[in-house]
């Protein structure tokens, strides 16, 4: 709430302090990044580290512009984002349905539960050669890998969320004439949403890890492939430019996702 005139002095002062705080907070948040960038540039320019190990940030920026101008960055980014998007999308849909179904239908819980527990702690990057063997070096193997790797955190989120659905809310819906299926959609699903959203956030981060590592090992396009091939060519400025691009994409994806989740869950306060 904003104050609307006729307020005592101390509230006005508090208001000013509050507004200052709101400007200062993002400044404080991003100051370390800025300091890091300056330290990087200075350290590289003073040759505290060899230029191949750490090229100056300004050279990296120039290399980024060159990659962008040639279009190389964007075609590879488009490939990568398609793979991550398709794999993650499938993982979210199948994972959520499986998790909620397991929570509401006991026989499925008994059958699928041990499988989920067995595969959950397995490092999914171990599947990179397997999916490449099955589906080759193209999009298919990456999508399958990301799907397999990202599904279980979503499944567990949906499972725990749906299990936590308040029995009295389910009863309320049923007493108002909602069928079992309707209750599942109208009560169990929204109850599961906060936990499900956490699972998807984990999956989102995992999808970037699996994408880049699988593209570095077994691909002919994509940002991971670009990092690998630029590194092998000794174009370290360009390699760093792509690494930073991946980091920025991951950060932006997480921010956009959290904004979406906070909007969808605004009823929580």
């Amino acid at each position: 709430m904003t104050d609307t005139g006729g307020v005592a002095n101390w509230t006005t002062l508090a208001g000013v302090a509050d507004r200052l705080g709101r400007v200062r907070q993002p400044l404080l948040r991003y100051a370390p990044l800025l300091i890091l960038a300056v330290v990087w540039e200075v350290a590289a320019r003073l040759h505290l580290l060899s230029t191949s190990a750490l090229p100056p940030l300004s050279d990296v920026a120039a290399a980024w512009l060159e990659l962008a101008r040639s279009g190389e960055l964007f075609t590879n980014a488009a490939d990568s984002l398609y793979r991550a998007g398709a794999g993650l999308g499938l993982a979210v849909i199948v994972g959520a349905v499986l998790g909620i179904a397991m929570a509401t239908w006991r026989p499925l819980d008994l059958m699928a539960g041990p499988l989920v527990e067995l595969f959950y702690p397995m490092p999914k990057s171990a599947l990179i050669p397997v999916t490449a063997l099955w589906l080759g070096f193209g999009d298919g193997s990456k999508i399958l890998l990301i799907f397999l790797g990202c599904m279980l955190p979503v499944t567990l989120g949906g499972y725990n969320g749906a299990r936590g659905a308040d029995r009295l809310l389910i009863w309320s819906a049923r007493s108002m004439g909602a069928s079992r299926l309707r209750t599942l959609l109208d009560v169990v699903l929204p109850s599961a949403l906060p936990e499900l959203a956490n699972g998807v956030r984990t999956a989102l981060a995992l999808s970037f890890i699996l994408l880049v590592s699988s593209e570095m090992i077994a691909a002919r396009q994509g940002l991971g492939f670009l990092i690998g091939s630029l590194g092998a060519d000794g174009s370290y400025e360009a390699m760093f430019a792509v690494v930073l691009t991946v980091a920025a994409l991951g950060f932006l994806a997480d921010r956009a996702y959290m904004a979406l989740v906070n909007r969808a869950l605004r009823w929580r306060q």
Partner: protein, 264 residues
């Protein structure tokens, strides 16, 4: 008996099976008849199974021994003829007050304009005008319970099952809500089963009080408590005070027994 009994509970027992430990006998051979349009209070110490009995009538728990018949039909699950109000409101937290109240009306397939008009009139009835677009987390306890009552009244159930609906409210709000509930009941003449452990509340609201024994729950006594509820001095009349004392006597024994059972 017979013709005017809307709800017939006949020889019902119920066991709880916790995930760990032994099954607990919550209700034993309970029989009770609730007449159409009557306001009946189920009164007893905590843990006596009075909520369990309500949930069985609501169709939320399966009837395993004995039978429960509502309007001539055995209970086989929840239905919109029996509206329920819980102690902790059970409002859908992701829906606004208006959408909560609309939910039951949507399930009944009423036309949109009629749904909206009906929801609005019940929100006004419980005094929540201006809070239509608020989420439950933004309301006080009393307001949440008003919203929950509006939601249940809106789809016009023949019976109201109320599970300690005012138990989570402060004393003032509680008093106001009791009076409002009586007003609503006098206007609509719905059949009400009201679970409480508050003797004064039971005697004030109900026309009949069923006192339950400590676990396993049985109906220990049925007491007539019909008074002129419109008398503003009812709480100070000798008849009322004596009745509260009489019912207290019955409940006190059971509360003591419940305490002793809990002690190691």
């Amino acid at each position: 008996m017979g013709v005017s009994a809307e709800i017939v509970v006949d020889g019902v027992s119920h066991r709880y099976r916790p995930a760990v430990g032994r099954a607990v006998l919550a209700l034993e051979d309970v029989s009770l008849e609730v007449r159409s349009s009557e306001f009946l209070a189920l009164l007893g110490p905590s843990g006596c199974g009075k909520s369990t009995l309500l949930y069985l009538i609501g169709g939320f728990l399966p009837v395993e021994a004995g039978k429960i018949v509502v309007n001539g039909k055995p209970v086989a699950g929840p239905g919109p003829d029996r509206g329920i109000v819980f102690q902790h409101f059970a409002l859908f937290p992701w829906k606004t007050v208006r959408k909560n109240v609309l939910y039951g009306l949507e399930r009944q397939g009423l036309p949109r304009a009629e749904r909206e008009a009906r929801a609005q009139s019940f929100i006004e009835l419980v005094g929540l005008s201006g809070f239509e677009e608020s989420y439950p987390s933004q309301l006080s306890g009393g307001m949440k319970q008003r919203a929950a009552i509006a939601r249940t009244l809106a789809f016009d159930p023949r019976m109201l099952l109320m599970d300690e609906p005012f138990g989570a409210l402060d004393a003032q709000t509680r008093g106001l809500m009791q009076t409002e509930l009586l007003n609503i009941w006098e206007r609509t003449r719905k059949t009400v089963i009201f679970v409480t452990h508050d003797v004064r509340e039971a005697v004030y609201l109900a026309g009949r009080v069923a006192v339950m024994s400590a676990r396993p729950g049985r109906i220990k006594a049925l007491i007539d408590t019909s008074f002129d509820k419109n008398d503003p001095d009812l709480h100070r009349t000798k008849a009322f005070v004596d009745k509260v004392e009489e019912v207290w006597g019955l409940v006190r024994e059971e509360a003591v027994r419940a305490q002793q059972k809990r002690a190691p």
